[in-house]
Amino acid sequence: MLTLTCPCCGVTVEETELAPGGEAHLKRFGPGASDADFETYMFARKNPKGVHFERWRHAYGCGKWFLAARCTVTWEVFGTYPAQTSEPPAELIAKIKEKRPGWEGWK
């Protein structure tokens, strides 16, 4: 039963107040995109065993989506940040690199 801090209202809440939303930072492909790009967008998932960037909605709270960097093995949470961005904040990346030296990056 994990806990996350909603970056939009600053409160630390438990999983039952949240709704999970899968991998973060997917780039949408629409009409005109190749079959391969569209398939990648829709289905190909990194699903890492380790540091993962994911979407959560503070469903029983402010209703906002936000993003989290979390380890899928230990559940350690490196940070959360608002959803209005196409890549993780640089400080967060730096923090993860420091904690997980061998980490291959978020892409």
Partner: protein, 184 residues
């Protein structure tokens, strides 16, 4: 407007705390840029203050403003005033990108009163009540439905939920407040 009735018509149960459906209350949702001066002015026009994150602040005439999310406020007033309050805010902000809407009928409000009022909600909400300060509104879950709670008096908590689940929430509160279920 005499025909309006609240979801549970003021139903009340006395257990180790008293749980009561608080009857009709006026509520207005405002979605707007909360940092804009225009927003502050529009609120002030209705005797309302701008709350900080997760705050609920009293304004004039027994009105309150509660912070719901970074771009949403909830105004609480009397049921009959709500249309006018909504219209007033909307009017004041008519040149801005905002959404103002009366939601008085979409909600039910409860009070939980008594020295052990906290214990009723400790059974239902994943919230650390020892850390819930007066003036703070916590949006959370009451068992299986969304709820917003705050301290509305020295020994009283208020809870707002959706109207359709009012009977469910009353069931939760009544069961949780049953004598013999005190937590300390």
């Amino acid at each position: 407007m005499s025909e309006a009735v609240s979801a549970l018509k003021g139903e009340s149960h006395a257990g180790f705390a008293t749980v009561t459906e608080a009857g009709l209350s006026g509520m207005v949702t405002l979605r707007a840029d909360l940092s804009a001066t225009a927003t502050r002015i529009a609120l002030a026009g209705q005797g309302l203050k701008l709350p900080g994150p997760r705050e609920i602040v009293a304004g004039e005439k027994g009105r309150f403003t509660a912070w719901m999310s970074p771009d949403e406020l909830l105004v609480i007033c009397s049921y009959d005033e709500a249309p006018a309050v909504a219209a007033g805010i909307a009017h004041s902000l008519h040149t801005e990108h905002v959404l103002v809407t009366n939601v008085s009928d979409a909600r039910a409000r409860f009070t939980i009163a008594g020295a052990k009022a906290d214990q009723v909600l400790m059974k239902l909400c994943p919230v650390d009540f020892a850390a819930l300060k007066p003036g703070e509104m916590r949006r959370t879950r009451a068992a299986q439905v969304a709820a917003a709670i705050w301290r509305s008096g020295p020994e009283e908590l208020s809870l707002v939920c959706f109207r359709s689940v009012a009977a469910y929430v009353m069931g939760l509160l009544e069961v949780s407040a049953r004598p013999g279920g005190e937590l300390s």
